[in-house]
């Protein structure tokens, strides 16, 4: 098990890591957060390429004093980086030979791995002669061939064509299945992160907001920040003032008190997913943007200054600027207190 405790790194006033404590088990954990959330720095800290304060332990062993080349870690980054002066086969054999394996044996293992990523034909080419997707496959194969117990993947597919990306995700899962490797995969895409991870860690501003199984994390983001990070399309956030008898939504005005469970008086924020805004009802909105993607329609609405995002599981054409009546399904709302922490959960997703 890889455990991090209180990792902190501040560079010229910017907190890249702000007291991160996490434990990673074998299997695939995704780090989900926007650009600049600290994902890359965290991976670099584990690899030894960034030096935060705090402690990194792997199976009980303290890594704080280990140089990068002493840590049993493999890493793949966004850019396709391979050794330009070696052919594809030797790119894979190189790490094995550095570890003391004989050239012939290393090349044998390398050849085997090349076959598994479907690049046997390219063995004697230089990396620069390959396409982007192939180069990245070489980089991934080189990381895998070492059989390192820890594999760090920093948005490894982001520079690839869309369909290639889809294929590579599945390829990677297949290669890693039952390997016992601890894989940490950084992503900015909520769908990808939820889909690939056995575990998911939500990150923002150098902090780990929440971690757990994708379904659990998605169903109940513990903070408003977490709710923002985990949702795509964006989550709807509605400010509300609650007293014993009244409920007033910031832009939408008074609403029946019984929409929400009993709560002590105060200010709350309701988080509603895009699919919990439905067409029909009584709330007048103006269409700001409609995006149809095959079978789904995401519509951005303006309800008297309150932006709303609505997801429909069908193709719907709403003209820009036209009016639309919708109903927020408040029963599904997640309710966050003034400190931004989750205090009550709607009915859906149990």
């Amino acid at each position: 098990m890889l455990s991090l405790s209180d990792l902190t790194l501040t560079e010229s006033g910017v907190p890249h890591l702000a007291g991160i404590s996490l434990a990673f088990r074998p299997g695939l954990t995704t780090l989900l957060g926007r650009t600049g959330a600290g994902k890359t720095t965290l991976l670099r800290a584990i690899a030894g390429l960034a030096q935060p304060t705090g402690q990194i332990r792997f199976n009980g062993e303290d890594w704080s004093r280990l140089a990068p080349w002493q840590r049993p870690v493999a890493m793949v980054t966004q850019q396709f980086i391979n050794y330009p002066h070696l052919n594809v086969l030797d790119n894979l054999a190189f790490p094995l030979m550095r570890r003391g394996e004989a050239k012939a044996a290393a090349r044998e293992t390398a050849r085997d791995m090349l076959g598994r990523v479907g690049l046997s034909q390219m063995a004697s080419r230089r990396p620069s002669e390959l396409s982007g997707g192939q180069q990245q496959r070489v980089a991934i194969a080189r990381a895998l061939v070492k059989g390192a117990p820890i594999l760090l993947l920093d948005e490894p597919f982001v520079n690839l064509d869309y369909n290639l990306r889809e294929g590579m995700r599945e390829e990677l899962s297949a290669l890693l299945q039952a390997s016992g490797t601890t894989v940490i995969y950084a992503s900015t895409d909520p769908r990808e992160a939820l889909r690939m991870g056995d575990q998911v860690v939500l990150m923002a501003e150098g902090r780990a907001l929440q971690s757990g199984a994708p379904r659990a994390v998605f169903a109940a983001p513990e903070t408003l920040d977490a709710a923002r990070v985990v949702n795509d399309p964006p989550v709807n956030l509605l400010g509300a003032a609650v007293s014993d008898t009244t409920l007033v939504l910031d832009h939408l005005g008074p609403a029946p008190r019984d929409l929400l469970p009993p709560l002590p008086p105060g200010r709350y924020t309701l988080a509603l997913r895009a699919e919990d805004i439905r067409q029909g009802g009584s709330l007048m909105t103006r269409v700001a943007l409609t995006e149809v993607s095959g079978s789904e329609t995401v519509t951005h609405l303006d309800a008297g200054g309150q932006p709303l995002v609505m997801l429909e599981r069908q193709v719907a054409e709403h003209a820009l600027g036209s009016s639309l009546v919708v109903t927020p399904d408040f029963k599904a709302a997640l309710i966050y207190g003034p400190d931004g922490r989750l205090i009550a959960k709607g009915g859906r997703n149990g």
Binding site: N163, L164, D189, F218, R273, R313
Partner: protein
């Protein structure tokens, strides 16, 4: 603000070589939104560069509002271009960046300031006008690139070359919204080049799917999704890809053996038949299931789940709202509206 017409346009990088762009005719209406979609090397960038004037086509003509601009260089075409990586003048402030094209044109300072302020307000950059452009986030830099194109008031078209690649998913919504609003407000023709089908489908009223230098299909996102002309388009558009199952001809119908999938077969259609349907169009069912199989894998995507089902005829994928409760090993049946089924002969759509 210009109609773009491509007449028997084609391009070869060397005379007698292979076509980087095969001959095509196309009309893009003034004020429309279009997307060129395809994998890298499909010819979409060549096409964009021909429109912007960076490449002189080896055959055919480019017309803006009926005027032949084939021989015009980029500067004379009144084109604004936004690239994958934000192009900004790092030494200037946001305001200076936005005003620079006008400085080059010799526009008086007073008028320049008015234009810059108007554009900045439109893009939500008013507060950042005096900040160094270099200090902005990636999506704001992209807005500055866009603003530099919009600041001249005679822009004919905006060409967007994978402008959202470096932007986080959540911020893409914002940028796309601004683009659409600008399109509606200024009536400027927009052409987006992308390899990301979601981006193309959400942005454009017409998507032009390209592969190996050829236009495979051009149509509305809905058309592409519901009636892909080739199996390639079916696989390229949509995530997961369209399901295709091999079919055989049985008594005037194409049938997938072992399932209830069947479509009437037109006269004379021979071998290499397949039936296809979208993972989004199938639903889980027990009573009216037309085929059932074993669940092999599940992917949780938040609001949705993707379910892979194994059937002797092949693997089928299905997109369903999350919360199905299925686990690998379960038996699951699917139902399908027959109107959603498509018949392909030799990889081409028949019905």
């Amino acid at each position: 603000m210009a109609e773009i017409r491509l007449e028997t346009l084609a391009h070869r990088y060397s005379p007698g070589g292979t076509y980087a762009l095969k001959p095509l005719d196309m009309i893009w209406r003034s004020g429309g939104t279009y997307a060129l979609l395809g994998p890298s090397g499909c010819g979409k960038s060549t096409m964009l560069n021909i429109i912007s004037g960076l490449i002189r086509p080896s055959e055919g003509r480019v017309l803006f509002d009926g005027q032949d601009v084939t021989a015009f260089d980029t500067g004379r075409r009144r084109i604004a271009q936004v690239f994958q990586v934000p192009v900004i003048y790092r030494s200037m402030t946001v305001g200076q960046n936005l005003g620079f094209p006008l400085v080059c044109q010799g526009v008086p300072a007073a008028h320049r300031r008015k234009r810059v302020e108007a554009i900045a307000e439109r893009l939500g950059l008013t507060g950042a006008l005096n900040r160094p452009a270099n200090a902005l986030t990636a999506d704001q830099k992209q807005l500055v690139s866009l603003g530099r194109g919009l600041v001249r008031d005679d822009v004919a078209a905006i060409l967007l070359d994978e402008p959202l690649t470096v932007i986080d998913p959540q911020q893409k919504f914002e940028l796309r919204r601004i683009l659409k609003e600008i399109n509606a407000e200024f009536g400027v023709t927009m052409v987006l080049v992308t390899h990301d089908q979601t981006e193309a489908m959400t942005f454009a009223e017409e998507v032009i799917v390209m592969n190996t230098g050829e236009v495979v299909q051009a149509g509305s996102p809905r058309d592409l999704f519901e009636r892909p002309l080739t199996r390639h388009v079916g696989s390229f558009i949509g995530a997961p890809a369209m399901n295709f199952l091999p079919a055989t001809a049985q008594g005037g119908a194409a049938v997938v053996p072992g399932t209830g999938l069947s479509m009437p077969l037109p006269e004379g259609a021979g071998s290499a038949l397949s039936l296809g349907f979208r993972p989004e169009h199938a639903r889980l069912a027990t009573a009216d299931a037309i085929l059932s199989g074993t669940v092999t894998r599940l992917w949780f995507e938040g609001l949705d789940e993707i379910i892979a089902i194994r059937h002797p005829a092949g693997e089928i994928r299905l997109r369903a709202p999350a919360g199905t409760g299925l686990v690998p090993g379960d038996t699951a049946g699917i139902a399908l509206d027959p109107g959603r089924l498509r018949l392909y002969l030799d990889d081409r759509l028949m019905a």
